[in-house]
């Protein structure tokens, strides 16, 4: 049996395997090496050994459904096509931890003053104000709204401190989006985090920006994202256990962890096993 897991949350869903460009190449997924290429007419193909896998190209990435029986369509990402936005692929960065912990870190604001000082937060502005978290019944996606946090510099183009407004969205166990104040007062910038699950304890984190920004160069935007992600990396790679515990009392949330509490419950309710730790006795 191929693949390192039989968890249907992984096998029956669309999993990102990297950019739609730069083909032919190989990609690591669920413990296996896939071969990716395109036809002369641009149709993508994915192969594991001699077996063809179900694959589609969306949002500049290739997505594979390992079982060939996707339980749902790939999530919607309307900002990708929205006029006026620039789309910047910030590349894939390998991280040695369960992807579930990477998503949880992406959803968290309380770490901004400690992990991203002078960028996304600053002591003593550490308080996390109450915000709202819901699961959308129609899409089964998690939404966190009314999030706000004081930041000295929220992106490459901001030079002064301000309260920045955030929304978070979890589309799949390994895909999330955050929306924050942009240059345009009525629009939000979007940052997509799509994790390629290499195995239970390794991912490649692909970041895609859908921004309203006519000022910064691609290199500047990518440098900022890598600065932020590089600060998270030693934290992510130094969890004493790499897999996320969904049961037991090894880890204790607090009030500001509402999104992560919802995310862990949401994973539990769908029977998530991949990337999780068994409960300690």
């Amino acid at each position: 049996m191929p693949f390192v897991t039989d968890d249907p949350n992984m096998l029956d869903d669309w999993l990102v395997v990297g950019p739609a460009s730069g083909l032919p190449r190989t990609a690591r997924l669920l413990g296996e090496t896939l071969h990716l290429h395109t036809d002369a007419d641009g149709t993508p193909h994915a192969r594991l050994g001699n077996d063809a896998l179900t694959v589609q190209s969306r949002y500049g990435f290739l997505w594979v459904c390992p079982s060939g029986r996707p339980a749902r369509p790939l999530f919607a990402f309307p900002e990708y096509e929205e006029p006026g936005r620039r789309i910047v692929d910030c590349g894939g960065l390998g991280v040695a931890v369960s992807g579930l912990r990477v998503i949880e870190n992406f959803l968290d604001m309380a770490h901004f003053p400690f992990v991203h000082p002078d960028y996304l937060g600053k002591v003593p502005h550490t308080e996390v104000a109450k915000y709202n978290v819901e699961v959308d019944a129609a899409t089964d996606e998690i939404w966190a709204t009314d999030c706000r946090f004081w930041q000295p510099r929220a992106s490459a183009a901001h030079d002064t401190g301000s309260e920045v407004f955030y929304k978070y969205r979890v589309m799949q166990p390994f895909s999330a989006m955050l929306y924050k104040s942009s240059h345009r007062p009525d629009r939000l910038d979007a940052i997509g985090l799509f994790l390629q699950p290499v195995d239970d304890e390794h991912v490649i984190a692909h970041t895609l920006l859908a921004y309203f920004d006519d000022v910064s160069s691609d290199a500047e935007l990518i440098a900022f994202q890598h600065t932020i992600f590089g600060q998270d990396k030693p934290i992510l790679e130094n969890h004493a256990f790499k897999r996320m515990p969904l049961e037991g009392r090894a880890e204790t949330p607090t009030r500001g962890d509402t999104t992560s509490v919802t995310y862990r419950r949401w994973l539990r309710e769908r029977g998530m096993r991949f990337g999780t730790a068994r409960a300690a006795a």
Binding site: G91, L93, I204, H226
Partner: protein
């Protein structure tokens, strides 16, 4: 004066130059290079106009262009350090020791930095096990040296002088980032102490992946 630096935030070699400029009180302007995913440092334009080796960092000090992190440290310390010359001491024996450890910094780049490029940036063509073995061998030499020198003299930097030099700065970042390449520092207690000491130097700003010391 303002030194132009062709820069990338996740490069430990670029960090060496940024930190040196800060410690020397020299202003700089970073020119962001799309190292990943764009591989801009390997583009025809970069090879032709900035560095034929296709590597970062490169500085342009009002027309004086220099590549190679260790060479840049030698230049900056020689030109901008104060009269004490503590970063690149003039004493022949100390200078010889500095050169020896700058060569070690190249070995650390060849092994530990390469392992990190493999794991973090997907450089899958590299022989990862050879990189990790090489890094552990280099780290053992460093750990032995630091442990023995500290026991014998109480000194805690690489060169036999009371203050850190460019030798320490050159060897530091890829040791501190070794975990990102799958190399554990558990077995190197003297090296771990040296990393802690270096991070706590006044004015140390770190880089993404190496925390500066926060306020106590």
């Amino acid at each position: 004066m303002t030194v132009k630096l062709y820069d990338y935030p996740l490069s430990g070699n670029c960090f060496k130059v940024r930190q040196m400029l800060l410690w020397l009180g020299v202003d700089h302007a970073s020119v962001p290079v799309d190292f990943h995913p764009g591989r801009e440092h390997k583009s025809a334009r970069f090879l032709a106009q900035i560095n034929p080796l296709g590597q970062l960092p490169v500085i342009d000090d009002e027309g004086f262009v220099l590549r190679d992190a260790q060479a840049i440290l030698v230049y900056l310390a020689s030109r901008y350090d104060d009269a004490r010359q503590r970063w690149y001491p003039a004493d022949p024996k100390l200078r010889g020791q500095v050169a020896m450890w700058l060569a070690m910094a190249d070995e650390i780049t060849r092994t530990a930095s390469a392992a990190r490029l493999h794991d973090a940036l997907g450089y899958t063509h590299l022989d990862i096990e050879a990189c990790r073995r090489g890094a552990r061998a280099a780290f053992r030499v460093l750990d032995d040296h630091l442990a023995e020198q500290h026991a014998a003299t109480g000194l805690r930097w690489l060169v036999a002088a009371p203050e850190p030099t460019i030798a320490d700065l050159a060897c530091f970042p890829y040791v501190a980032l070794a975990g990102e390449g799958g190399i554990s520092l558990d077995e190197f207690p003297a090296l771990r102490r040296w990393v802690w000491d270096f991070r706590h130097l006044p004015g140390f700003v770190g880089m993404s992946g190496i925390f500066p010391a926060g306020p106590a």
